[in-house]
Subunit: 315 residues, 2 copies
DNA sequence: CACTCGAATGTTAGCGCTAACATACTTTTA
DNA sequence: TAAAAGTATGTTAGCGCTAACATTCGAGTG
């Protein structure tokens, strides 16, 4: 029995006689043979590896997305090579190069902003790429996400419709290329007929930072009646701080978040937020990629998963 | 200039004349050459890939660990191949096989319980392995974690010392091989002189499940005066539910969690919990592995990161 | 019954790199 | 000053697999 027969028995069972296939499987079990996928990848020029790049894994935001990618990718028989760039476009470039060097069959990246060198290398590689977590005008290739601008604008409109008149936008550090910026711009657009205060915390976008922010905000401008946070983690932190200080929400100040993380529905009062599904973004991105790799025509190369303003008790 | 010179210029710059090295780098930049790490891995029999297997990526528990592994692994010039098995030992086996097939240089797995076939294959592979999130008597190879048993026991002792007399242990589904079991056993051991109620929710270990659990618990046994949850997520969910119902914590019932997740310090009242660092577990595991791969003698193959009962307001 | 055809299996070459050994040339040392 | 020891680069072979092209053989066809 030659090597190629074993190879075929494992990869294309239909092209091998039933009896041969069974003999191969028996021999493999007996010998504990584990096919070398590295050698296979070199010979076939397909690695069955998907590279994924997120800003950060920790935190509710992208952990779900990574889970979605992981689930979908494994279900399709691929492996997930993961990298986090910490909001550094240079680090993103390094990861893209490393993943291309690993001969990943396709890449999933976060956002639509990339260093020029990154765009160039991706284009030159000819690999299928999915951008996520945003919808841009000219995607590199495929894209799955939603409009951060419109989502934030919808929240501003919701707050105005509820009668709030002096709004605040609160974010963590505003990096050049994260999702805070379009959300701020969208919120500004929606709040253009109202007073708007902006506060950018420099020390993170976590619960502690949210707690600090709401105190700082109301000290600076006590008349603010509704605060929109760039994510639910910050918003929940702020909400808890209000509880601690006995400030009723929305009585003293209304609070809204973004993301509909698990914590949003669970806090008391429940958090008004914008629902988007990080898991679904990851899953769909992975499925689009593997479908393309399977030679299927991906008709919808731009998938807008949309968003939904979820009205709860806090605003 | 031969291929090997290019290879050396990139991998061992010191072994190539300065001038040659510069010429190589110039040519690489001009041609846009990206070394094929797959071919390199095949030839050198080292892939510079670390395989990591966690039960789940979503949720505060392991996302931090994955982040820690990712950071450390990239800093050492490795790539992270990630898999999640969803608490299924068969899926864990499949991932181990896939990662060995990918010729990962080493593996990081979660927990100390593995299918016999998994242990066999890992041993046969001869790869360095780090187990995490627990401390076992006979590790496969290296291990970094803490004693879930002792941590939970310490919490029981803390609660008794605070004067609580009727304790409850609340977890999600008790799987054969997750960290709930040693925590339950430890809590039992610490609570042996007190009344103990156990409640295992079948529908998850998230905030919603925690909220449901506390209601169910007090309906079943109104005299319980302190409830210990298997993780902070559940505990925070319960805490919020109490707030919602106007049950003072710890007035009506004391609540304690596990993990010292971000939410623990942020909720009101702040959550009494057991502090352990998921990030540090991931980071240390990765560093131990890469140190071993670099040929360094890893003297402490068993790293107990310990734990700390953090007394806050809820218990 | 020679012939085509298709199913099952085999042979050959090569994927792009690097380990190991070889060579050319320079510097040090006895 | 010739041998020894380094420094820089090159040559060869092969890592373990699979694409592409044989080959074999039995079944169906005219």
């Amino acid at each position: 029995m030659s090597a190629i027969t074993v190879s075929r028995a494992l990869r294309e069972p239909a092209r091998v006689a039933e009896e041969t296939r069974r003999a191969v499987l028996r021999a493999i079990a007996r010998l504990g043979y584990v096919p070398d996928l590295v050698a296979g990848a070199l010979a076939s020029r397909r690695s069955r590896i998907v590279g994924a790049i997120v800003p950060t894994i920790a935190g509710a935001m992208f952990a779900d997305t990574v889970q979605g990618m992981s689930d979908a990718v494994h279900a399709e028989g691929y492996q997930l090579l993961l990298g986090a760039h910490g909001y550094d476009l240079g680090a993103e470039l390094a990861l893209v190069q490393a993943f291309i060097g690993r001969r990943a069959d396709g890449l999933i990246v976060t956002g639509v902003q990339h260093a020029p060198a990154t765009r160039r290398i991706l284009a030159a590689s000819g690999l299928p790429v999915v951008e996520t977590w945003d919808i841009g005008r000219r995607p590199l290739d495929m894209i799955v996400g939603f409009s951060n601008f419109r989502a934030a604008r919808a929240m501003a409109e919701y707050l105005l419709a509820r009668g709030y008149r002096r709004l605040a936008f609160i974010s963590g550090p505003l990096r050049a290329h994260d999702r805070s910026r379009p959300r701020r711009d969208g919120f500004r657009a929606g709040a253009r007929h109202a007073a708007l205060v902006e506060l950018h915390m420099t020390d993170g976008s976590d619960m502690r930072s949210g707690a600090k922010a709401i105190v700082e905000l109301l000290a600076r401008d006590p008349k603010v009646d509704a605060a929109f946070f760039v994510n639910d983690t910050m918003a929940a932190g702020a909400l808890m701080e209000c509880t601690r200080r006995g400030w009723p929400t929305p009585g003293r100040v209304a609070i809204a978040g973004f993301g509909d993380f698990e914590v949003a529905a669970a806090v008391a009062p429940a958090l008004t937020t914008v629902r988007i599904s990080g898991y679904e973004i990851g899953r769909r991105a992975a499925l689009m990629l593997t479908a393309r790799l399977a030679g299927k025509e991906v008709s919808h190369a731009i998938v807008d998963l949309g968003f939904e303003v979820v009205a709860r008790d806090s605003a």
